[in-house]
């Protein structure tokens, strides 16, 4: 039992170190590579890692294949969202029917649910405005005549595909 706990602790510590290294790389990219500033970068990376554990538990993991699938779906959808808004904005007479739709998510409250809402807000015609305790997301639609339920379920499926068990149940 202790050996299992020890192995789990080591895995969690390794995950945190990888995360800290990622934050340090991000800091170097943003601030530029300078040996003189590196100690400050290490402090910033440590602080970011500590703060991130509140949002993203160290035992959670993402699926690389799932992330790839998600990005392949997210980018064209993001473009479609911008084109859809531009089409409406440039139309001489506005043809919009704004309204609300709901989507019941299976994701638990916290980072995963917040992440799904953030992703949905960059998809065509949808903007989550509130989430009820039972997981019902109220979504503002730019045009309620367009189907919303199918795309929202597909958004959630693509998002959930990135998460491994620790994150899904966080």
């Amino acid at each position: 039992m202790n050996a299992v706990t020890g192995a789990r602790d080591r895995t969690a510590l390794f995950a945190l170190l990888v995360r800290a290294a990622g934050f340090l790389v991000l800091w170097i990219v943003l601030m530029g590579p300078s040996l003189k500033d590196l100690p400050l970068g290490m402090v910033a990376a440590a602080a970011a890692t500590w703060a991130s554990t509140a949002l993203w538990p160290s035992d959670s993991d993402v699926s690389v294949v799932g992330v790839g699938r998600f990005v392949l779906r997210f980018l064209p959808q993001s473009v479609a969202a911008g084109v859809d808004v531009a089409r409406h904005a440039f139309k001489p007479s506005l043809d919009l029917e704004p309204g609300f739709a709901t989507h019941r998510t299976a994701l638990p409250p916290g980072m995963a649910r917040g992440g799904l809402c953030a992703v949905m807000s960059l998809q065509p015609g949808k903007l989550p405005v509130a989430v009820a305790r039972d997981g019902t997301i109220e979504v503002h639609c730019l045009d309620v005549r367009q189907a919303a339920a199918g795309p929202m379920a597909a958004d959630e499926a693509a998002f959930t595909g990135m998460l491994r068990d620790g994150m899904r149940n966080a």
Partner: protein, 97 residues
């Protein structure tokens, strides 16, 4: 080759500017606060993405290119989060129809 790269930059940055214009037009023309948020979060993000793609071939180093990509990613994250927060406040301030 340089001419081709320059033409690509002009096309991508020009398209990006058109999407920023679309976002601003949407902000002015769309009927309510929540609809205007769609215009700001979606059209501006695509506009910024196109401008970043257009500028990437002119980045002087890999680090400068990565910085441009990071700027776009961070802007996407902040737009997605801020639009939801503003949408939540706007919805609570006004009784639903």
């Amino acid at each position: 080759m340089t001419g081709f790269v320059d033409a690509f930059t002009v096309l991508a940055v020009g398209s990006g500017a058109i999407f920023f214009l679309a976002g601003t037009l949407g902000l002015l023309r769309f009927p309510d606060t929540l609809s205007r948020l769609h215009a700001l979060s979606k059209a501006d993000n695509l506009g910024l993405g196109l401008i970043v793609i257009g500028l990437l071939p002119h980045a002087t180093s890999v680090s400068a290119g990565l910085k441009l990509a990071c700027v776009w990613l961070l802007a996407q994250l902040s737009a997605a989060t801020a639009s939801q927060l503003i949408a939540g406040v706007a919805r609570n301030r006004r009784p639903r129809a």
